[in-house]
């Protein structure tokens, strides 16, 4: 019997999803006979199945829906917004009944008479349904920036109001029915849940039975069968050749085995791939309901819905995507009058685009709404003290947009019922990053906003670094890995320090908090390794926190298959899973976010290096960054912070060409523009390219600095020294491109702001075209 019910649930969920989408399409093409027939057939068959299994109330609901559709199909009724809403209410009602059936394998005896009456009235052409769920824009709840707690209860109670379908309490009960969905442990779900309730039940029931089954293309299964057949043959060959002692055959078979295994792996991964359409299918309804509620007009356009994603990822991005879409409708798209005033069509367009690129799936959500006002963000950030006033002026738009992902951020002037204060973008970011992806925002004021998500193709196979501690091996996901450090002998003593009892290490001009893997895991360190005068440190990044993990040994980098831990072990924060290594032994996979939690309070203060703080210009108070002292081409020294130096190169002058007014050299497949530091500072055009400068034969010595993917070279005449100790800052920046002046080797020397120099040069020169 239970098999029947499982099939029924699956059939119903799919049928409802299709029905809903067809209904939304019908809104745009109300006369379409094909759509109407299809919808009628769906409801008819759902009615039949429900009756067969004895679910009378469901059958009754379906019956009224069928009747309504019959009239539409026969032309006795015409589609109207009220009719559409009525049918959507029926869908919601059915979904919530379905949840109950799934949990209890029986119907509850809740009363549907309101809904039934509504449907009957619609059949009779009587229009009396409750008013559409709108929040009049004239009466928003005024946002009080200092009191978020007050608004949250208001949000929740109001969210029970929309679509007047079967009682909301029943829906929340249904939502609590056991759902076999696992969630990333370290993310706050609070706001998503209130939003889910407000969506009108569209997504709550959808996460259950459908998750335990998957559709696979038969051709793919055939291919896999063939591969397994070949695997068997190769296995036989291998066995035979090892028994018989035929080494050549053994080798050939092993290679073949390798090939087949790879193909089988790829094939199996494909079976789990689902088109992103499955995630997007619910969004048209979300957009429609939300637009109605906000008094706006919006439509959803999709591109690339066949783009495939692994099933594990599909679950993880459903919520973040829904949230982004809601944000776009609620905060992005302007009300029709405003749009008309801006010369835009009254209906806003939300474009969803998905495509594969570089081993990742790219998902873009664009709207043609009002865009993000970076000036407002800047003001808000300054108000909140996130950036200082002067620094604030220097931040680029891109950096400001990044602030949207900070917890507690919102520039919405007033709270609207539906998506709160725009709270949740921080959760979107952390959820996406938790699965190894990234989020980016682009926007043009008045024109619109695009949010780009980049997520990996699959979660189950990852690149990892294998390390050893205490005799056991552990895997660290490469996505969180920044670099590896080995401290040796003297450097060891110099670099390690202790800040209020927390171990730290000097690292690239700052301090890196340190964690000892052996201590965290409570295992005895491998004394043989630890007693030598060296330390292996793995530098990791979890969100904003950068820290170093001390391990006994660093082994290898390899691809591993992620296996989940037993349920009873899932609660351990530092562990993300396990994997079986090539020799059959098990290695535990470390959870970098869980490790970061181990950082003590003091550590966290040191560790919290916000991306933006690192990029902002350094104040003259900073006196501990290593400096490279160089001789300029005019004979005067200047200095460059060591961390801004990628490498030093020397180019024979024959390789240097002059294009326009700028010397450049071909380097690593691209053009490397060369800037003479001394000339730049003096505001002179470069002299070295000129004849007669007496420098034709000497090689050009260059400091290479990278900005994003592009590199620029800073020309100098010689290296004088490297300073790593405290520097006495002698003065404020004297001119553009200078960070500060310091007394080095007894002389007042300017310390250059390489990024600024580079950016300005790129912007103003011929090379700006490449940007």
């Amino acid at each position: 019997m239970d098999d029947f019910i499982v099939d029924y649930l699956l059939e119903f969920q799919e049928g409802l999803a299709q029905f809903e989408n067809e209904l939304l399409e019908l809104e745009k093409a109300p006369e379409s006979a094909t759509i109407l027939s299809s919808m009628f057939r769906i409801v008819h068959s759902l009615k039949g199945s429900s009756g067969f299994l004895g679910f009378q109330k469901m059958a009754q609901l379906a019956h009224e829906g069928e009747d309504l559709l019959g009239r539409l199909r026969d032309g006795r009724l015409r589609l109207s917004p009220q009719l559409t809403s009525g049918l959507l209410a029926m869908v919601d009602g059915m979904r919530s009944r379905l949840s109950v059936i799934e949990a209890t394998r029986a119907e509850d005896d809740r009363d549907d008479s309101d809904l039934l009456t509504r449907l009957r009235n619609l059949q009779a052409g009587v229009i009396d349904e409750p008013p559409l769920p709108t929040v009049p824009p004239k009466a928003p709840i005024k946002k009080k920036p200092k009191a978020p707690a007050e608004s949250a209860p208001a949000l929740r109670s109001q969210s029970a109001a929309p679509p007047p379908a079967p009682s909301p309490p029943a829906r929340t009960e249904a939502a609590q029915a056991p759902l076999p969905v696992t969630e990333p442990a370290n993310v706050d779900r609070g706001d998503f849940e209130s939003e889910q309730a407000a969506i009108g039940g569209a997504t709550i029931a959808g996460a259950t039975v459908a998750d335990t089954t998957i559709r696979v293309d038969v051709a793919l299964l055939d291919k896999l069968m063939n591969l397994v057949g070949e695997l068997v043959l190769t296995r036989n060959q291998l066995l035979r050749s090892s028994v018989v002692g035929d080494e050549a055959m053994q080798q050939a078979s092993t290679q073949r085995l390798n090939l087949i295994t790879t193909e089988l792996q790829e094939g199996m991964m494909k079976t789990r791939m689902q088109p992103i359409r499955n995630v997007w299918s619910k969004l048209p309804r979300v957009v429609r309901d939300l637009a109605l509620a906000c008094g706006k007009q919006a439509r959803l356009v999709t591109d690339g819905e066949e783009t495939e994603l692994d099933k594990t990822i599909v679950e993880a991005i459903k919520d973040p995507l829904t949230h982004i879409v809601r944000n776009a409708v609620d905060h992005g798209i302007e009300p029709p009058e405003v749009r008309a005033g801006r010369g835009k069509p009254a209906e806003g367009t939300l474009r969803l685009r998905a495509y594969h690129e570089g081993g990742m799936v790219n998902i873009e959500v664009s709207d043609d709404g009002g865009g993000i006002d970076s000036a407002r963000i800047r003001r808000k950030a300054i108000d909140r003290g996130w950036i200082g006033g002067e620094q604030g002026a220097a931040w680029s738009d891109r950096e400001l947009f990044g602030l949207i992902f900070r917890p507690g951020f919102s520039t919405a002037e007033s709270l609207t019922m539906v998506s709160g204060r725009g709270v949740g973008m921080d959760v979107v970011k952390s959820r996406v990053e938790a699965i190894g992806g990234s989020v980016e925002v682009q926007s043009r004021l008045g024109e619109g906003t695009t949010i780009k998500l980049k997520i990996p193709l699959t979660l189950t196979i990852i690149n990892a670094l294998i390390v050893s501690s205490g005799g056991d091996r552990f895997a660290i996901p490469q996505g969180n890995l920044i670099e590896l450090i080995r401290l040796h002998g003297e450097a060891l003593g110099r670099s390690l320090a202790s800040v209020h009892g927390a171990a730290v290490c000097r690292y690239r001009g700052g301090l890196l908090p340190l964690l000892d893997l052996n201590q965290i895991l409570k295992i005895a360190p491998d004394r043989a390794v630890r007693d030598t005068e060296s330390l292996n440190i793995v530098v990791l990044q979890a969100d904003d926190q950068r820290f170093g993990l001390i391990v006994d040994r660093i082994d290898d980098a390899q691809e591993i298959v992620v296996r989940p831990l037993a349920r009873q072990l899932k609660g351990i924060a530092c562990l993300a899973g396990a994997t079986i290594m090539g020799d059959g032994r098990i290695a535990l996979i470390l959870d970098v976010f869980g490790l970061a939690l181990q950082l003590s309070g003091e550590h966290q203060r040191t560790a919290a290096t916000s991306h933006h703080e690192v990029q902002a210009p350094v104040q003259s108070g900073d006196d501990r960054r290593p400096l490279l002292l160089l001789l300029g081409t005019d004979g005067s020294p200047f200095a460059v912070p060591l961390e801004q130096v990628d490498r030093l190169e020397a180019f024979p002058s024959s390789t240097v060409e002059v294009v326009g007014d700028r010397p450049l050299v071909q380097y690593r497949g691209t053009f490397l523009p060369l800037i003479d530091a001394a000339d730049w500072l003096a505001g002179r055009a470069s002299r070295r390219g000129e004849r007669g400068s007496g420098r034709e034969e000497t090689p050009w010595q260059v400091v290479i600095h990278a900005v994003d993917e592009r590199r620029v070279g800073l020309v100098f005449d010689g290296v004088l020294d490297v300073f790593t100790d405290r520097i006495t800052v002698a003065g404020e920046p004297s001119r553009r491109g200078v960070l500060y002046t310091a007394a080095l080797q007894g002389k007042a020397t300017e310390v250059l702001d390489v990024p600024t120099i580079v950016q300005e040069t790129l912007r103003s020169s011929v090379f700006a075209l490449e940007a």
Partner: protein, 147 residues
Amino acid sequence: MTSNRQLCIFSLGDELFGIEVNRVQEVLRSQQMTAVTLAPRFIRGLINLRGQIVMAIDLRQCLELSPFDRDHSPMNLVVRTEDGPISFLVDRIHDVVDVTEETFEGAPPNLHGVLRKLIRGTYPLRDKLLLALDVDALLNLIDSAAG
């Protein structure tokens, strides 16, 4: 009418325990284990069971008995559960025996501590008493102890 059950017998020290044979997936000799040091003590580690990662539970700890002998390699009794197989570390694994319900007696009142919750009752076996282990109660205990 006599009803027969089949129990898989294993021993911890001098005591004999029995688990219904249809709950037992397989028995293995001592396997290489990877410790999970942050887990509760009774979870000894993880073993590789033909490509599946299976938790190994120290049954002596669960039943509050004295710890395993350092030199002794425990055997693995792999039990089927809802979430997949779980392996229990025991001293020795013996036969599968038939027992009849008629000879079943309730758990002796002098069973101490946690054993009282985990032992369903006893069957006489030659000169010893076989303690029938309630697998589900044991699994529940593990769940609640794991937190």
